[in-house]
Symmetry: D2
Subunit: 397 residues, 4 copies
Amino acid sequence: MSADQNALPELGVAVVGHSFMGAVHSHAWRSVDHVGTPRFRTRRVALAGRDASRAQAAATQFGWEEGVDDWRSLIERDDVQVIDILTPGDSHAEIAIAALQAGKHVICEKPLAKTVEEAQRMTEAAQAAAAQGVRSMVAFNYRQVPAIGLAKQLVDAGRLGEVRQVRAVYLQDWIVDPDFPLTWRLQKDRSGAGALGDIGSHIIDAAQFITGQRLTGVSGTVETFVKRRPLEATRTGANTGLGAEASSEYGDVTVDDAAVFFGRGDGGALMTFEATRMATGRKNGMRIEVNGSKGSIAFDFESMNELHFFDGSIPAAENGFRRILATEPEHPGVANWWPAGHGLGYDHPFVHELQEFLGAIADGRDPSPSFADGLQVQQVLEAVQRSAENNSQYTEI
Amino acid sequence: MSADQNALPELGVAVVGHSFMGAVHSHAWRSVDHVGTPRFRTRRVALAGRDASRAQAAATQFGWEEGVDDWRSLIERDDVQVIDILTPGDSHAEIAIAALQAGKHVICEKPLAKTVEEAQRMTEAAQAAAAQGVRSMVAFNYRQVPAIGLAKQLVDAGRLGEVRQVRAVYLQDWIVDPDFPLTWRLQKDRSGAGALGDIGSHIIDAAQFITGQRLTGVSGTVETFVKRRPLEATRTGANTGLGAEASSEYGDVTVDDAAVFFGRGDGGALMTFEATRMATGRKNGMRIEVNGSKGSIAFDFESMNELHFFDGSIPAAENGFRRILATEPEHPGVANWWPAGHGLGYDHPFVHELQEFLGAIADGRDPSPSFADGLQVQQVLEAVQRSAENNSQYTEI
Amino acid sequence: MSADQNALPELGVAVVGHSFMGAVHSHAWRSVDHVGTPRFRTRRVALAGRDASRAQAAATQFGWEEGVDDWRSLIERDDVQVIDILTPGDSHAEIAIAALQAGKHVICEKPLAKTVEEAQRMTEAAQAAAAQGVRSMVAFNYRQVPAIGLAKQLVDAGRLGEVRQVRAVYLQDWIVDPDFPLTWRLQKDRSGAGALGDIGSHIIDAAQFITGQRLTGVSGTVETFVKRRPLEATRTGANTGLGAEASSEYGDVTVDDAAVFFGRGDGGALMTFEATRMATGRKNGMRIEVNGSKGSIAFDFESMNELHFFDGSIPAAENGFRRILATEPEHPGVANWWPAGHGLGYDHPFVHELQEFLGAIADGRDPSPSFADGLQVQQVLEAVQRSAENNSQYTEI
Amino acid sequence: MSADQNALPELGVAVVGHSFMGAVHSHAWRSVDHVGTPRFRTRRVALAGRDASRAQAAATQFGWEEGVDDWRSLIERDDVQVIDILTPGDSHAEIAIAALQAGKHVICEKPLAKTVEEAQRMTEAAQAAAAQGVRSMVAFNYRQVPAIGLAKQLVDAGRLGEVRQVRAVYLQDWIVDPDFPLTWRLQKDRSGAGALGDIGSHIIDAAQFITGQRLTGVSGTVETFVKRRPLEATRTGANTGLGAEASSEYGDVTVDDAAVFFGRGDGGALMTFEATRMATGRKNGMRIEVNGSKGSIAFDFESMNELHFFDGSIPAAENGFRRILATEPEHPGVANWWPAGHGLGYDHPFVHELQEFLGAIADGRDPSPSFADGLQVQQVLEAVQRSAENNSQYTEI
């Protein structure tokens, strides 16, 4: 393998953004050449931030050759072929469109954009770029969790029969403290939405991915339990988490704390959703249950290496949900890591995501999920918002 | 205790109905004088069914002095002071009103009635009877599960802070087989509703009971996945379960297989609900989660002796949901049963329910939950139906 | 069924003892004619205790016709055919042998006796009685838990292949408080042994029952962590639990708090055991795991309605332990109770036990487990004690 | 941070071995400069194997500058300051002693050696080297799992009171297939022991680490269920797992498949242990439970991000084991990774281990656990073997 590996083409990568997602993506970029069958020798060329010295510090910390304060300079460089966008949602459209037009492959964090309109323009840019062999991908990382990949395989193989019901919740509690400050994720003009966009987008994508059914309409409502919060104090240093410090001034929370909605899939499934950052005690409870005429699956990201599967073809007297440790080499993405029973963590699926992205670049195909997929999720989010503003009426997508 | 116990007043009881609920209630009536501090010496006078010989067989099997085929005869007897109504929903109103008017204390299975209008008439009869010292109660048995009683205590004591979110689902799969026949529970004119009424009523009541908040409006939808089923073959013998045999003829299913809805509590909580009989692999998944500003609880009837409680006042570094085995003597209803760790089953809460009912009769107070509580649940069910028929619009209760 | 049931022969029953086991057995005796297919019309003739007034109170409370202070009078009565022995271990031999010699069928709580010698005499009496059609049974109630019955069925059907390893623990914490008094269960001359005898006997029996392998030798050790405790204050009233009140005087604990041992089954299995009353936080953690060449099972009485089964014949990529809710009608003892998913409690297996006992009497066969089975468990207990006293040397049974 | 980081001293590292542990350690070496506060700029100088071309391939794959076939050459290089030993147990002593004598810091996989005698020589070499400022560490990676670190903190803080009982099992099933070949791990002359040494050493170390008590004596037995297996076919390519291919020839298995033992800690705790590779369905069931007079903890590596803690000071009516997600920033090693609820995987503790090792080098202190700790574990393993060969007699350590 070594000879091949040294002969691989080089691919220059730059990331824009360096807080939580910067840390995770950087970790994945440092690993991707060393896991499985690499397709490139990647070079971690540069990391861009808003502040030069913080960007340089982050570049060193996360393993990039340089740190810069101007993302535009990156897309002008010949030694950069890939732009990885990790910024708050309000800058995705501008950066992605510029990068694609400059012929750079783009991978962009979710939700794709702040609005449907932005997502639409990004998707058009992606489609135009694709005609030139330039690739783009929206980073719905949970698709790359082995247990979720296995869930999809079971559905695709007909093991659940006709998919009839989905219940998907994403439960966190990181802002249950009313003194948690008004970070960009709590400002509509920065993030586009609250729990609905940030984590609701994950469960919409995951539910559609697993079932193969797209939502055709929704009915929902949203709520902001804590309506004013302290403003955020100025940040210093790299920040790899979701934490922040409060100042003494207050401002209005302009996004939802929680959103609930139900909808119908184009294959007839009845789906329910809840995204909340106020579920005290739940740290990362992204849970998906799918019930079909022949079987069911259940997943909870707090136990991310497990998929619970009920196979209705087994005699009732000895049947039950089985707890599959999704750490077998047959499970999507697992073979290149550790032996069975040696679980993966939050970060490993990001490597799988890059493998999909780089594989697509190498193979000259479009990676999945596409910007168009990101746009469709944005349309669902918007339909939920409209329903919520319209007496929860069922709203077509 | 023995001297007292032999000196207790006698109370004659009759039950109407003898299938699943007949078996469970009879088991409870056989135990109620022997658990804790009895208030009466109960006499199991008679059991009524539609067919005399089947009623007689059931009376012997379940431990009643006689079996009769005419419930009206029971309310005319002087040696009967209590009527326990276990029939399909379409006869609740008629029997309950007649019994109350005859001065008999009434305990009636849930949902209270087939329609709001019936439930209203029953509630009026109950209120008129109460003025004469005649008691009535609707049998929402899950309130009597120790873990649910404990959940309510924690909420009442402020341990969850402000209750913000509830997610309540009741997942069963007993009719996922499309050849399961069209029993009375699948016929709207017999049962009033499908999963929504049968098991949805349980989670509505439980969510309101635990949180102390009543729903003020709902938005929902319903679905029938299997639209035609074989008619039921004629029954023979007692039937203590939910099973049935199919004939070769088919009919239309006139109730929902699944219902989903969300609503608002009068204390501001956002609540989501799902009742389904099509959740393959889930046998009795009545699950309730409540999130408050200071803590959370989670319950699943499939593990009915456990309550999971997150107490937000514990330092984060050592906090987590704790699995309370609700088998301690301090837990509601437990002290008179077995030592800690020796779990109860589905039937024990029915004894607690009778203890509440008989205690109220003895004390000259109204038992809880009342017919008025049953009516309010009926109003929620109807609002869900109306919302479902009206494009899922938010519908006030 | 009614005609048959009324025509059944009457069978007079008397119990000796009325604390925790008295409450549980009485509950079972009240139910046994009303569950499944009864074989007798049982009459609850009398309950015997040491104190007449307490016995009378207990008789009323638990539903027996009379309470007496002399168990000997019971075995002289013609209207008593069954003696149910629930006393501390030091009186089992005397009562059982007298009852058997008087021609009474005997069911006796576990462990069968205080010593191997006593158990031997009881077994001889049982064998002599059996020749006269008089039946005897030792009450290892856990055999009657549906999930454990299912475990045995799976092993018997070869679904685990060759049984290679067993780990059985029984973890309680009811005497972790050093002020818990010196009840009879903590006195060697009353109980014969501590955790080893009381709960160790349960896991020895269960492990042998499930696997079909008998222990041929053991190596073990025992420990008493709290060596002195307050004496017990005089009891008043019935006592349905394990609780007690402390006096101000102290005495020596003469039994073990914990015992650990391993052994070999006659089929080659390597088995480990631990019985402890000092496992803080564990209320009734009777857990058994069996690993075979083709599959495994796992059980925990704290979730008594579940059996976890790993079927090695399923492809690895979708395999895992499945959580079987042992509440299906096919599961041992379940069909006569409630529908699937409606769990049983600690007391229901005692009904199953009586069904086995009464069925054997009716059928003219010996019930299982026999006194000889109880003797064999006693021999294992004694071998553990000998090993513990002999530098943990492996000791043959 | 960047300026500091670029100014850090360089440290040249070489690894010996490149199968499963090679993959894991390399992944950790690639991350260690980028997580938390690095102490060096590490250079991944070389990887050594037995075959030059396979070593070169592995070096490229895992991210090392070169691959060599002679580990001795590495310890002669000036640009190598650290030797990381990942080979089968039969070469640990030779490599480690040579490296230490050459002044290289050494981190060595567990168990430290094949025999006590080897471990003793290694410990002497380590102590001699330490006098020269050369550091050594045995790689018991499970100490670095955040949940296990938290367990130790709770014990150290007295939250469990007096530690009385430990039950530690390590359950795997990777050789339950009788056709799995006779790899080095199944040959006594290569590995020193079977399950006992490989995974038993982990639970011995973890139990002692968490409780702070060292075993003073043990009583045990071992078993080999599958006595002959196919020889291993010649390996080709890198091998990151535990898998292997069978040839058509057979050989004797010379190590145990399973070992069970109990022992006493120097603080009075009674501890039980089981290590097995034949627990069908268990993939990596390293489970540790500790019971103290005031509290208990429970851990299972199959859910490695969870610690279950019972705090006996909480009132019984609301107490239970709490499931702590050990993903909070306060938990050992976590702060530098992801936000709460974003779990770690098998590999992250290896980074923590390197952080301890490198921190000790930088600080001029001895890292923990030391070779002396590894030797003590080896002594326990040997005592178990002796007990097993001596009728399971209790054997002092």
